[in-house]
Assembly symmetry: C2
Protein backbone atom coordinates (compact mmCIF):
# COMPACT_ATOMS: atom_id res chain seq x y z
CA UNK A 1 0.00 0.00 0.00
CA UNK A 2 0.97 3.66 -0.31
CA UNK A 3 1.73 5.64 2.86
CA UNK A 4 3.35 8.84 4.13
CA UNK A 5 6.31 7.66 6.14
CA UNK A 6 8.76 9.35 8.46
CA UNK A 7 11.82 7.40 7.33
CA UNK A 8 14.34 9.12 9.57
CA UNK A 9 14.33 11.75 12.33
CA UNK A 10 13.83 15.43 11.48
CA UNK A 11 12.88 14.95 7.88
CA UNK A 12 9.90 15.51 5.60
CA UNK A 13 7.51 12.60 5.12
CA UNK A 14 8.02 10.34 2.10
CA UNK A 15 5.19 8.93 0.00
CA UNK A 16 6.33 5.35 -0.46
CA UNK A 17 5.19 1.74 -0.61
CA UNK A 18 4.71 -0.18 2.60
CA UNK A 19 3.56 -3.77 3.14
CA UNK A 20 -0.20 -4.18 3.54
CA UNK A 21 -0.95 -4.64 7.25
CA UNK A 22 -2.17 -8.01 8.53
CA UNK A 23 -4.58 -7.90 11.43
CA UNK A 24 -4.63 -10.40 14.27
CA UNK A 25 -8.39 -10.73 14.71
CA UNK A 26 -7.98 -12.93 17.80
CA UNK A 27 -6.38 -9.96 19.57
CA UNK A 28 -9.15 -7.59 18.54
CA UNK A 29 -7.25 -6.00 15.69
CA UNK A 30 -9.22 -4.64 12.76
CA UNK A 31 -8.14 -3.29 9.37
CA UNK A 32 -9.61 0.03 8.31
CA UNK A 33 -9.47 1.05 4.66
CA UNK A 34 -8.99 4.78 5.04
CA UNK A 35 -10.89 7.23 2.87
CA UNK A 36 -9.65 10.40 4.55
CA UNK A 37 -7.05 11.36 7.12
CA UNK A 38 -6.39 14.74 8.72
CA UNK A 39 -3.32 16.65 9.81
CA UNK A 40 -2.50 17.83 13.28
CA UNK A 41 0.23 20.13 14.53
CA UNK A 42 1.63 17.03 16.21
CA UNK A 43 2.54 15.63 12.78
CA UNK A 44 4.44 18.79 11.91
CA UNK A 45 6.32 18.74 15.24
CA UNK A 46 7.28 15.11 14.74
CA UNK A 47 8.82 15.84 11.32
CA UNK A 48 10.79 18.70 12.92
CA UNK A 49 12.20 16.54 15.70
CA UNK A 50 10.28 18.56 18.28
CA UNK A 51 8.50 15.60 19.80
CA UNK A 52 9.90 13.16 22.34
CA UNK A 53 10.44 9.49 21.54
CA UNK A 54 10.31 9.59 17.73
CA UNK A 55 11.20 6.18 16.29
CA UNK A 56 11.38 6.01 12.48
CA UNK A 57 10.33 4.42 10.25
CA UNK A 58 6.70 5.11 11.08
CA UNK A 59 3.57 6.10 9.19
CA UNK A 60 2.29 9.34 10.74
CA UNK A 61 -1.30 10.49 11.11
CA UNK A 62 -3.68 10.40 14.10
CA UNK A 63 -6.98 11.21 12.42
CA UNK A 64 -8.79 8.96 10.01
CA UNK A 65 -12.16 7.85 8.67
CA UNK A 66 -12.88 4.89 6.43
CA UNK A 67 -14.42 1.46 6.07
CA UNK A 68 -13.80 -1.77 7.93
CA UNK A 69 -13.51 -4.93 5.87
CA UNK A 70 -17.10 -5.63 6.93
CA UNK A 71 -18.13 -2.33 5.32
CA UNK A 72 -18.81 -0.36 8.55
CA UNK A 73 -18.22 3.38 8.18
CA UNK A 74 -15.99 4.35 11.06
CA UNK A 75 -13.92 7.10 12.55
CA UNK A 76 -10.93 6.28 14.70
CA UNK A 77 -10.31 7.46 18.27
CA UNK A 78 -6.59 8.34 18.26
CA UNK A 79 -6.32 8.11 22.07
CA UNK A 80 -5.08 4.60 22.98
CA UNK A 81 -4.62 2.88 26.35
CA UNK A 82 -5.76 5.85 28.43
CA UNK A 83 -6.14 3.61 31.44
CA UNK A 84 -8.53 3.45 34.41
CA UNK A 85 -8.25 7.02 35.76
CA UNK A 86 -10.23 9.59 33.77
CA UNK A 87 -8.21 12.38 35.41
CA UNK A 88 -4.92 11.41 33.74
CA UNK A 89 -3.61 8.97 31.17
CA UNK A 90 -1.50 6.04 32.32
CA UNK A 91 2.14 5.57 31.37
CA UNK A 92 1.45 3.29 28.40
CA UNK A 93 -0.97 5.79 26.86
CA UNK A 94 -0.22 6.46 23.20
CA UNK A 95 -1.58 8.41 20.27
CA UNK A 96 -2.15 6.69 16.94
CA UNK A 97 0.54 7.59 14.41
CA UNK A 98 3.79 7.27 16.36
CA UNK A 99 5.03 5.05 17.83
CA UNK A 100 2.46 2.79 16.09
CA UNK A 101 1.66 3.32 12.40
CA UNK A 102 -0.93 6.00 11.70
CA UNK A 103 -3.61 7.09 9.28
CA UNK A 104 -1.59 8.63 6.43
CA UNK A 105 -1.96 5.39 4.48
CA UNK A 106 -4.40 3.31 2.50
CA UNK A 107 -4.92 0.98 5.45
CA UNK A 108 -4.36 0.92 9.19
CA UNK A 109 -4.58 -1.75 11.87
CA UNK A 110 -6.30 -0.62 15.04
CA UNK A 111 -7.80 -2.24 18.07
CA UNK A 112 -11.55 -2.44 17.54
CA UNK A 113 -12.06 -0.43 20.75
CA UNK A 114 -10.71 2.58 18.82
CA UNK A 115 -13.52 2.44 16.26
CA UNK A 116 -16.73 4.48 16.43
CA UNK A 117 -19.55 4.87 13.92
CA UNK A 118 -19.04 7.80 11.60
CA UNK A 119 -21.64 10.47 12.49
CA UNK A 120 -24.09 10.26 9.61
CA UNK A 121 -24.41 14.04 9.14
CA UNK A 122 -20.69 14.28 8.34
CA UNK A 123 -18.95 13.61 5.05
CA UNK A 124 -15.99 11.26 5.21
CA UNK A 125 -13.60 14.23 4.98
CA UNK A 126 -15.42 16.04 7.81
CA UNK A 127 -15.38 12.89 9.94
CA UNK A 128 -11.62 12.53 9.46
CA UNK A 129 -11.17 16.15 10.58
CA UNK A 130 -12.85 15.56 13.92
CA UNK A 131 -11.11 13.04 16.20
CA UNK A 132 -7.92 14.43 17.76
CA UNK A 133 -8.84 18.11 17.76
CA UNK A 134 -12.47 17.47 18.66
CA UNK A 135 -11.50 15.23 21.57
CA UNK A 136 -8.91 17.71 22.84
CA UNK A 137 -11.37 20.61 22.65
CA UNK A 138 -14.14 18.59 24.29
CA UNK A 139 -12.06 17.54 27.30
CA UNK A 140 -10.61 21.04 27.79
CA UNK A 141 -13.87 22.94 27.39
CA UNK A 142 -16.49 20.53 28.68
CA UNK A 143 -14.83 18.08 31.11
CA UNK A 144 -12.25 20.43 32.59
CA UNK A 145 -13.72 23.94 32.32
CA UNK A 146 -17.32 22.73 32.48
CA UNK A 147 -18.53 25.64 30.41
CA UNK A 148 -22.11 26.72 31.12
CA UNK A 149 -24.81 28.45 29.12
CA UNK A 150 -24.37 32.22 29.16
CA UNK A 151 -20.70 32.17 30.13
CA UNK A 152 -18.14 34.20 28.22
CA UNK A 153 -15.40 32.12 26.60
CA UNK A 154 -12.11 33.25 25.07
CA UNK A 155 -10.37 30.94 22.60
CA UNK A 156 -6.83 31.89 21.59
CA UNK A 157 -5.26 31.13 18.23
CA UNK A 158 -8.33 31.08 16.00
CA UNK A 159 -7.70 28.89 13.00
CA UNK A 160 -6.13 25.97 14.80
CA UNK A 161 -8.11 22.75 14.80
CA UNK A 162 -8.73 22.59 18.54
CA UNK A 163 -9.51 26.32 18.66
CA UNK A 164 -12.05 25.85 15.90
CA UNK A 165 -13.85 23.06 17.77
CA UNK A 166 -13.63 24.94 21.09
CA UNK A 167 -15.34 27.88 19.39
CA UNK A 168 -18.07 25.72 17.87
CA UNK A 169 -18.62 23.60 21.00
CA UNK A 170 -18.80 26.66 23.28
CA UNK A 171 -21.38 28.30 21.00
CA UNK A 172 -23.39 25.08 20.87
CA UNK A 173 -23.28 24.93 24.68
CA UNK A 174 -24.87 28.37 24.83
CA UNK A 175 -21.77 30.39 25.69
CA UNK A 176 -20.63 33.63 24.10
CA UNK A 177 -17.26 33.29 22.42
CA UNK A 178 -14.43 35.64 21.54
CA UNK A 179 -11.18 34.65 19.83
CA UNK A 180 -7.67 35.97 19.43
CA UNK A 181 -5.48 35.64 16.37
CA UNK A 182 -2.57 37.34 14.65
CA UNK A 183 -4.79 37.54 11.56
CA UNK A 184 -7.83 39.76 11.11
CA UNK A 185 -9.21 37.44 8.47
CA UNK A 186 -9.09 34.46 10.84
CA UNK A 187 -11.03 36.48 13.39
CA UNK A 188 -13.63 37.14 10.71
CA UNK A 189 -13.75 33.44 9.87
CA UNK A 190 -14.23 32.62 13.57
CA UNK A 191 -17.12 35.09 13.66
CA UNK A 192 -18.64 33.21 10.72
CA UNK A 193 -18.37 30.04 12.85
CA UNK A 194 -20.37 31.72 15.60
CA UNK A 195 -17.87 33.79 17.61
CA UNK A 196 -19.12 37.16 18.89
CA UNK A 197 -15.86 38.86 18.05
CA UNK A 198 -12.15 38.83 18.63
CA UNK A 199 -8.91 40.72 18.92
CA UNK A 200 -5.66 40.71 16.95
CA UNK A 201 -2.98 40.16 19.57
CA UNK A 202 -0.29 41.69 17.40
CA UNK A 203 -1.95 45.09 17.85
CA UNK A 204 -1.36 47.36 20.85
CA UNK A 205 -4.29 47.50 23.21
CA UNK A 206 -5.82 44.21 22.05
CA UNK A 207 -6.54 43.11 25.63
CA UNK A 208 -8.20 46.43 26.44
CA UNK A 209 -10.42 46.18 23.41
CA UNK A 210 -11.48 42.67 24.45
CA UNK A 211 -12.20 43.94 27.96
CA UNK A 212 -14.32 46.74 26.56
CA UNK A 213 -16.21 44.22 24.47
CA UNK A 214 -16.63 41.24 26.81
CA UNK A 215 -15.64 42.69 30.23
CA UNK A 216 -14.02 39.45 31.44
CA UNK A 217 -13.98 35.76 30.60
CA UNK A 218 -15.34 32.85 32.61
CA UNK A 219 -13.50 30.27 30.51
CA UNK A 220 -10.29 30.67 28.50
CA UNK A 221 -8.95 27.97 26.15
CA UNK A 222 -5.32 28.52 25.20
CA UNK A 223 -2.68 26.76 23.15
CA UNK A 224 0.17 29.25 23.39
CA UNK A 225 1.41 29.73 26.97
CA UNK A 226 4.50 31.95 26.89
CA UNK A 227 4.78 35.50 28.12
CA UNK A 228 1.29 36.30 26.81
CA UNK A 229 -0.35 33.90 29.23
CA UNK A 230 -0.37 36.56 31.95
CA UNK A 231 -2.61 38.69 29.72
CA UNK A 232 -5.14 35.85 29.79
CA UNK A 233 -5.01 35.89 33.60
CA UNK A 234 -5.73 39.61 33.54
CA UNK A 235 -8.73 38.97 31.24
CA UNK A 236 -10.16 36.28 33.52
CA UNK A 237 -13.31 36.91 35.56
CA UNK A 238 -13.52 35.84 39.22
CA UNK A 239 -13.73 32.02 39.48
CA UNK A 240 -12.64 31.68 35.85
CA UNK A 241 -11.19 28.46 34.51
CA UNK A 242 -8.24 28.67 32.12
CA UNK A 243 -7.25 25.49 30.29
CA UNK A 244 -4.39 25.03 27.87
CA UNK A 245 -3.65 22.05 25.63
CA UNK A 246 -0.50 23.42 23.98
CA UNK A 247 2.41 25.74 24.54
CA UNK A 248 3.58 27.04 21.18
CA UNK A 249 4.99 30.21 22.80
CA UNK A 250 7.01 28.28 25.36
CA UNK A 251 7.35 28.79 29.07
CA UNK A 252 4.82 30.78 31.04
CA UNK A 253 6.35 33.76 32.84
CA UNK A 254 5.30 36.68 34.98
CA UNK A 255 2.17 35.25 36.63
CA UNK A 256 1.08 37.21 39.69
CA UNK A 257 0.04 34.79 42.46
CA UNK A 258 -1.94 37.59 44.10
CA UNK A 259 -4.14 38.19 41.05
CA UNK A 260 -4.73 34.44 40.70
CA UNK A 261 -5.68 33.78 44.30
CA UNK A 262 -7.70 36.94 44.72
CA UNK A 263 -9.76 36.06 41.62
CA UNK A 264 -9.92 32.41 42.76
CA UNK A 265 -8.75 31.24 39.32
CA UNK A 266 -8.21 27.66 38.20
CA UNK A 267 -5.52 26.98 35.59
CA UNK A 268 -5.49 23.53 34.02
CA UNK A 269 -3.44 21.62 31.53
CA UNK A 270 -5.26 19.11 29.35
CA UNK A 271 -4.27 16.74 26.59
CA UNK A 272 -6.34 14.35 24.47
CA UNK A 273 -9.16 12.57 26.35
CA UNK A 274 -10.68 9.27 27.44
CA UNK A 275 -12.74 6.88 25.34
CA UNK A 276 -15.82 8.06 27.26
CA UNK A 277 -15.02 11.64 26.35
CA UNK A 278 -14.59 10.63 22.71
CA UNK A 279 -18.04 9.07 22.74
CA UNK A 280 -19.55 12.10 24.50
CA UNK A 281 -17.90 14.38 21.95
CA UNK A 282 -19.37 12.39 19.05
CA UNK A 283 -22.82 12.53 20.62
CA UNK A 284 -22.50 16.30 21.14
CA UNK A 285 -21.38 16.85 17.54
CA UNK A 286 -24.28 14.73 16.30
CA UNK A 287 -26.92 16.32 18.50
CA UNK A 288 -25.73 19.86 17.76
CA UNK A 289 -25.25 19.19 14.05
CA UNK A 290 -21.70 20.54 14.15
CA UNK A 291 -19.61 20.37 10.97
CA UNK A 292 -15.81 20.59 11.22
CA UNK A 293 -14.26 23.46 9.31
CA UNK A 294 -12.01 22.16 6.54
CA UNK A 295 -9.27 24.41 5.18
CA UNK A 296 -8.59 22.19 2.16
CA UNK A 297 -8.54 18.58 0.98
CA UNK A 298 -5.36 17.37 -0.76
CA UNK A 299 -4.39 13.97 -2.15
CA UNK A 300 -2.45 11.64 0.17
CA UNK A 301 0.42 11.79 -2.34
CA UNK A 302 0.78 15.53 -1.60
CA UNK A 303 0.64 15.09 2.16
CA UNK A 304 4.30 15.81 2.87
CA UNK A 305 3.99 19.36 1.52
CA UNK A 306 0.73 19.81 3.42
CA UNK A 307 2.41 18.84 6.70
CA UNK A 308 5.30 21.18 5.90
CA UNK A 309 2.85 24.02 5.25
CA UNK A 310 1.62 23.86 8.86
CA UNK A 311 4.81 25.69 9.83
CA UNK A 312 3.26 28.94 8.64
CA UNK A 313 -0.09 28.33 10.41
CA UNK A 314 -1.88 29.92 7.50
CA UNK A 315 -4.75 27.42 7.49
CA UNK A 316 -8.15 28.02 9.07
CA UNK A 317 -9.58 24.70 10.09
CA UNK A 318 -8.34 21.25 9.27
CA UNK A 319 -6.19 20.11 6.38
CA UNK A 320 -7.57 16.78 5.14
CA UNK A 321 -5.85 14.11 3.04
CA UNK A 322 -7.86 12.14 0.52
CA UNK A 323 -6.67 8.56 0.24
Amino acid sequence: MKALVLTREKSPLEYIDRPDPVANAAEGEVIVHLRHAALNRRDYYITKGMYPGVEPPVILGSDGAGLTEGGREVIINPSMNWGPDPRAQQRKFAIIGMPSDGTFAEQIIVDKAQLFDKPSHLSSAEAAALPLAGLTAYRALMSKCQVRRGERVLVTGAGGGVAQFATQFARAAGAEVWVTSSSDSKIQQAVSLGANGGANYTKDGWAKSLKADAEAFDVIIDSAGGDGFKDLVSLAAPAARICFYGGTRGKINGLSPQIIFWKQLTIMGSTMGTADEFEQMLRFVREQGIHPQIDRVVPLADGAAAVESMGTSSQFGKIVLEV
Copy 2:
Protein backbone atom coordinates in the same frame (compact mmCIF):
# COMPACT_ATOMS: atom_id res chain seq x y z
CA MET B 1 -10.49 50.83 75.60
CA LYS B 2 -6.93 49.89 74.71
CA ALA B 3 -6.14 48.82 71.13
CA LEU B 4 -3.28 48.33 68.68
CA VAL B 5 -3.84 50.96 66.03
CA LEU B 6 -2.29 51.66 62.66
CA THR B 7 -2.29 55.44 62.98
CA ARG B 8 -0.66 56.18 59.63
CA GLU B 9 0.50 54.26 56.56
CA LYS B 10 3.71 52.21 56.69
CA SER B 11 4.26 52.45 60.40
CA PRO B 12 4.38 50.18 63.43
CA LEU B 13 1.18 49.72 65.42
CA GLU B 14 0.60 51.94 68.45
CA TYR B 15 -0.93 50.72 71.70
CA ILE B 16 -3.32 53.56 72.50
CA ASP B 17 -6.75 54.43 73.86
CA ARG B 18 -9.73 54.28 71.56
CA PRO B 19 -13.40 54.97 72.32
CA ASP B 20 -15.39 51.93 73.43
CA PRO B 21 -17.43 50.71 70.46
CA VAL B 22 -21.22 51.10 70.53
CA ALA B 23 -23.17 48.35 68.75
CA ASN B 24 -26.37 48.93 66.80
CA ALA B 25 -28.31 45.83 67.86
CA ALA B 26 -31.11 46.59 65.41
CA GLU B 27 -28.66 46.07 62.56
CA GLY B 28 -27.38 42.79 63.98
CA GLU B 29 -24.22 44.24 65.49
CA VAL B 30 -22.79 42.56 68.56
CA ILE B 31 -19.96 43.56 70.90
CA VAL B 32 -17.37 40.89 71.65
CA HIS B 33 -15.10 41.32 74.67
CA LEU B 34 -11.94 39.79 73.32
CA ARG B 35 -9.85 37.44 75.44
CA HIS B 36 -7.32 36.55 72.77
CA ALA B 37 -6.43 37.68 69.26
CA ALA B 38 -3.91 36.20 66.82
CA LEU B 39 -1.48 37.60 64.28
CA ASN B 40 -1.45 36.93 60.57
CA ARG B 41 1.10 37.81 57.92
CA ARG B 42 -1.56 40.15 56.59
CA ASP B 43 -1.10 42.37 59.66
CA TYR B 44 2.62 42.58 59.02
CA TYR B 45 2.08 43.44 55.34
CA ILE B 46 -0.38 46.18 56.26
CA THR B 47 2.13 47.83 58.60
CA LYS B 48 4.71 47.74 55.80
CA GLY B 49 2.42 49.39 53.25
CA MET B 50 2.39 46.18 51.19
CA TYR B 51 -1.38 45.83 51.13
CA PRO B 52 -3.80 47.67 48.87
CA GLY B 53 -6.37 50.10 50.20
CA VAL B 54 -4.91 50.78 53.66
CA GLU B 55 -6.88 53.55 55.40
CA PRO B 56 -5.53 54.60 58.79
CA PRO B 57 -6.45 55.03 61.55
CA VAL B 58 -7.64 51.45 62.00
CA ILE B 59 -7.36 48.77 64.65
CA LEU B 60 -5.73 45.75 63.00
CA GLY B 61 -6.35 42.07 63.72
CA SER B 62 -8.47 39.47 61.94
CA ASP B 63 -8.49 36.66 64.50
CA GLY B 64 -10.20 36.80 67.84
CA ALA B 65 -11.98 34.80 70.53
CA GLY B 66 -13.92 36.15 73.47
CA LEU B 67 -17.27 36.64 75.14
CA THR B 68 -20.41 38.37 73.98
CA GLU B 69 -22.20 40.63 76.44
CA GLY B 70 -24.62 37.73 76.95
CA GLY B 71 -21.66 35.56 78.05
CA ARG B 72 -21.46 33.32 74.94
CA GLU B 73 -17.96 32.03 74.23
CA VAL B 74 -17.32 32.78 70.55
CA ILE B 75 -14.75 32.84 67.84
CA ILE B 76 -15.03 35.29 64.99
CA ASN B 77 -15.11 34.43 61.28
CA PRO B 78 -12.89 37.12 59.72
CA SER B 79 -14.38 36.62 56.24
CA MET B 80 -17.17 39.19 55.74
CA ASN B 81 -19.70 39.69 52.92
CA TRP B 82 -18.44 36.80 50.79
CA GLY B 83 -21.60 36.91 48.72
CA PRO B 84 -23.76 34.33 46.96
CA ASP B 85 -21.15 32.50 44.84
CA PRO B 86 -19.04 30.00 46.80
CA ARG B 87 -16.50 29.96 43.95
CA ALA B 88 -15.39 33.58 44.45
CA GLN B 89 -15.98 36.47 46.84
CA GLN B 90 -18.01 39.43 45.66
CA ARG B 91 -16.62 42.94 45.29
CA LYS B 92 -17.70 44.13 48.75
CA PHE B 93 -15.99 41.18 50.46
CA ALA B 94 -13.76 42.30 53.33
CA ILE B 95 -11.59 40.84 56.05
CA ILE B 96 -12.02 41.96 59.65
CA GLY B 97 -9.25 44.33 60.73
CA MET B 98 -8.97 46.76 57.81
CA PRO B 99 -10.87 48.58 56.54
CA SER B 100 -13.15 47.94 59.56
CA ASP B 101 -11.64 47.83 63.06
CA GLY B 102 -10.17 44.46 64.07
CA THR B 103 -9.43 42.22 67.00
CA PHE B 104 -6.29 43.79 68.47
CA ALA B 105 -8.40 45.51 71.09
CA GLU B 106 -10.39 44.93 74.23
CA GLN B 107 -13.65 45.00 72.29
CA ILE B 108 -14.87 44.69 68.75
CA ILE B 109 -18.19 45.24 66.99
CA VAL B 110 -19.11 42.51 64.52
CA ASP B 111 -22.19 41.39 62.69
CA LYS B 112 -23.67 38.45 64.60
CA ALA B 113 -23.35 36.32 61.44
CA GLN B 114 -19.58 36.39 62.01
CA LEU B 115 -19.87 34.66 65.40
CA PHE B 116 -19.49 30.91 65.97
CA ASP B 117 -19.37 28.92 69.19
CA LYS B 118 -15.84 28.39 70.43
CA PRO B 119 -14.98 24.69 70.00
CA SER B 120 -15.06 23.37 73.56
CA HIS B 121 -11.85 21.35 73.26
CA LEU B 122 -9.84 24.52 72.55
CA SER B 123 -8.51 27.04 75.03
CA SER B 124 -9.36 30.65 74.32
CA ALA B 125 -5.83 31.23 72.97
CA GLU B 126 -6.10 28.18 70.68
CA ALA B 127 -9.50 29.31 69.44
CA ALA B 128 -8.11 32.75 68.58
CA ALA B 129 -5.31 31.08 66.59
CA LEU B 130 -7.73 29.23 64.34
CA PRO B 131 -9.98 31.46 62.20
CA LEU B 132 -8.12 33.09 59.30
CA ALA B 133 -5.41 30.49 58.83
CA GLY B 134 -7.72 27.56 59.49
CA LEU B 135 -10.29 28.84 57.01
CA THR B 136 -7.65 29.51 54.35
CA ALA B 137 -6.14 26.05 54.78
CA TYR B 138 -9.54 24.35 54.78
CA ARG B 139 -10.71 25.96 51.54
CA ALA B 140 -7.38 25.34 49.78
CA LEU B 141 -6.92 21.75 50.92
CA MET B 142 -10.47 20.46 51.25
CA SER B 143 -12.77 22.52 49.00
CA LYS B 144 -10.32 23.21 46.19
CA CYS B 145 -7.86 20.29 46.20
CA GLN B 146 -10.37 17.82 47.66
CA VAL B 147 -7.63 15.81 49.32
CA ARG B 148 -8.42 12.12 49.77
CA ARG B 149 -7.31 9.44 52.20
CA GLY B 150 -3.97 7.93 51.15
CA GLU B 151 -2.91 10.82 48.93
CA ARG B 152 0.51 12.40 49.26
CA VAL B 153 0.46 16.08 50.16
CA LEU B 154 3.29 18.62 50.07
CA VAL B 155 2.96 21.78 52.17
CA THR B 156 5.53 24.51 51.55
CA GLY B 157 6.78 26.94 54.18
CA ALA B 158 6.33 24.86 57.32
CA GLY B 159 5.86 27.15 60.29
CA GLY B 160 3.36 29.53 58.74
CA GLY B 161 -0.12 29.46 60.20
CA VAL B 162 -1.89 28.19 57.07
CA ALA B 163 0.88 25.64 56.43
CA GLN B 164 0.49 24.35 59.96
CA PHE B 165 -3.26 23.83 59.57
CA ALA B 166 -2.82 22.34 56.08
CA THR B 167 -0.41 19.82 57.58
CA GLN B 168 -2.74 18.93 60.43
CA PHE B 169 -5.90 18.83 58.30
CA ALA B 170 -4.25 16.67 55.63
CA ARG B 171 -3.07 14.18 58.27
CA ALA B 172 -6.51 14.14 59.85
CA ALA B 173 -8.01 13.46 56.40
CA GLY B 174 -5.79 10.37 56.09
CA ALA B 175 -3.18 11.79 53.73
CA GLU B 176 0.57 11.50 54.02
CA VAL B 177 2.26 14.86 54.37
CA TRP B 178 5.67 16.28 53.61
CA VAL B 179 6.77 19.85 54.14
CA THR B 180 9.43 22.25 52.91
CA SER B 181 11.15 24.92 54.94
CA SER B 182 14.38 26.89 55.05
CA SER B 183 14.81 25.62 58.60
CA ASP B 184 15.62 22.05 59.64
CA SER B 185 14.12 22.64 63.05
CA LYS B 186 10.78 23.70 61.53
CA ILE B 187 10.75 20.50 59.50
CA GLN B 188 11.26 18.58 62.72
CA GLN B 189 8.41 20.50 64.35
CA ALA B 190 6.18 19.69 61.37
CA VAL B 191 7.05 16.02 61.82
CA SER B 192 5.98 16.31 65.45
CA LEU B 193 2.62 17.65 64.13
CA GLY B 194 2.23 14.52 62.01
CA ALA B 195 4.22 15.15 58.83
CA ASN B 196 6.06 12.16 57.36
CA GLY B 197 9.11 14.24 56.55
CA GLY B 198 10.34 17.24 54.66
CA ALA B 199 13.13 18.96 52.79
CA ASN B 200 15.13 22.11 53.36
CA TYR B 201 14.77 24.07 50.12
CA THR B 202 17.93 26.06 50.75
CA LYS B 203 19.95 22.87 50.20
CA ASP B 204 20.96 21.58 46.77
CA GLY B 205 19.05 18.51 45.69
CA TRP B 206 16.09 19.12 48.03
CA ALA B 207 13.57 18.28 45.32
CA LYS B 208 15.39 15.06 44.46
CA SER B 209 15.42 13.99 48.07
CA LEU B 210 11.68 14.61 48.31
CA LYS B 211 11.16 12.61 45.12
CA ALA B 212 13.18 9.74 46.53
CA ASP B 213 11.08 9.86 49.68
CA ALA B 214 7.55 10.47 48.40
CA GLU B 215 7.88 9.83 44.62
CA ALA B 216 5.38 12.55 43.65
CA PHE B 217 2.60 14.58 45.23
CA ASP B 218 -1.13 14.45 44.57
CA VAL B 219 -1.78 17.73 46.34
CA ILE B 220 0.57 20.68 46.88
CA ILE B 221 -0.30 23.66 49.10
CA ASP B 222 1.97 26.64 48.48
CA SER B 223 2.30 30.20 49.76
CA ALA B 224 5.43 31.30 47.93
CA GLY B 225 5.00 31.32 44.14
CA GLY B 226 8.12 32.83 42.58
CA ASP B 227 10.76 31.03 40.57
CA GLY B 228 10.53 27.99 42.86
CA PHE B 229 6.96 27.26 41.82
CA LYS B 230 8.19 25.32 38.77
CA ASP B 231 9.90 22.87 41.14
CA LEU B 232 6.49 22.14 42.65
CA VAL B 233 5.17 21.40 39.16
CA SER B 234 8.01 18.94 38.65
CA LEU B 235 7.15 17.25 41.98
CA ALA B 236 3.48 16.89 41.04
CA ALA B 237 1.99 13.48 40.24
CA PRO B 238 -0.33 13.03 37.25
CA ALA B 239 -3.71 14.68 37.95
CA ALA B 240 -2.23 16.57 40.89
CA ARG B 241 -3.86 19.69 42.29
CA ILE B 242 -1.63 22.58 43.30
CA CYS B 243 -3.22 25.40 45.28
CA PHE B 244 -1.58 28.58 46.52
CA TYR B 245 -2.95 31.16 48.93
CA GLY B 246 0.05 33.49 48.95
CA GLY B 247 2.94 34.66 46.84
CA THR B 248 5.75 35.74 49.15
CA ARG B 249 8.37 35.02 46.47
CA GLY B 250 6.61 37.10 43.84
CA LYS B 251 5.79 36.31 40.26
CA ILE B 252 5.73 32.75 38.96
CA ASN B 253 8.17 32.16 36.11
CA GLY B 254 9.42 29.35 33.92
CA LEU B 255 6.37 27.07 33.90
CA SER B 256 6.44 24.50 31.12
CA PRO B 257 2.97 24.21 29.54
CA GLN B 258 3.94 20.79 28.18
CA ILE B 259 4.68 19.33 31.62
CA ILE B 260 1.44 20.77 32.99
CA PHE B 261 -0.83 19.49 30.21
CA TRP B 262 0.87 16.14 29.91
CA LYS B 263 0.45 15.54 33.66
CA GLN B 264 -3.10 16.97 33.49
CA LEU B 265 -2.35 19.30 36.42
CA THR B 266 -4.71 21.76 38.03
CA ILE B 267 -3.26 24.94 39.54
CA MET B 268 -5.55 27.02 41.70
CA GLY B 269 -5.42 30.24 43.63
CA SER B 270 -7.45 30.45 46.81
CA THR B 271 -8.01 33.05 49.47
CA MET B 272 -10.06 32.97 52.67
CA GLY B 273 -13.36 31.07 52.42
CA THR B 274 -17.15 31.20 52.74
CA ALA B 275 -19.20 31.12 55.94
CA ASP B 276 -20.14 27.52 55.08
CA GLU B 277 -16.48 26.61 54.80
CA PHE B 278 -15.81 28.28 58.14
CA GLU B 279 -18.51 26.15 59.75
CA GLN B 280 -17.22 22.97 58.04
CA MET B 281 -13.71 23.81 59.23
CA LEU B 282 -14.87 24.20 62.83
CA ARG B 283 -16.72 20.88 62.66
CA PHE B 284 -13.65 19.16 61.24
CA VAL B 285 -11.39 20.63 63.94
CA ARG B 286 -13.87 19.53 66.61
CA GLU B 287 -14.39 16.03 65.24
CA GLN B 288 -10.69 15.45 64.68
CA GLY B 289 -9.67 17.00 68.00
CA ILE B 290 -7.16 19.29 66.30
CA HIS B 291 -5.30 21.83 68.43
CA PRO B 292 -3.68 24.84 66.75
CA GLN B 293 0.05 25.15 67.28
CA ILE B 294 0.88 28.30 69.22
CA ASP B 295 4.36 29.77 68.94
CA ARG B 296 3.89 32.12 71.88
CA VAL B 297 1.33 34.21 73.75
CA VAL B 298 2.22 37.84 74.40
CA PRO B 299 0.26 40.66 76.05
CA LEU B 300 -1.77 42.94 73.78
CA ALA B 301 0.43 45.83 74.94
CA ASP B 302 3.44 44.12 73.31
CA GLY B 303 1.62 43.37 70.06
CA ALA B 304 3.42 45.93 67.91
CA ALA B 305 6.77 44.22 68.47
CA ALA B 306 5.16 40.82 67.84
CA VAL B 307 3.79 42.00 64.46
CA GLU B 308 7.20 43.46 63.61
CA SER B 309 8.85 40.11 64.47
CA MET B 310 6.88 38.37 61.69
CA GLY B 311 9.33 39.92 59.23
CA THR B 312 11.88 37.26 60.15
CA SER B 313 9.36 34.37 59.94
CA SER B 314 11.08 32.74 62.88
CA GLN B 315 7.84 31.57 64.51
CA PHE B 316 6.42 28.08 64.22
CA GLY B 317 2.66 28.30 64.54
CA LYS B 318 0.57 31.23 65.60
CA ILE B 319 1.54 34.24 67.67
CA VAL B 320 -1.35 35.00 70.03
CA LEU B 321 -2.11 38.23 71.88
CA GLU B 322 -3.65 38.07 75.34
CA VAL B 323 -6.07 40.91 75.92
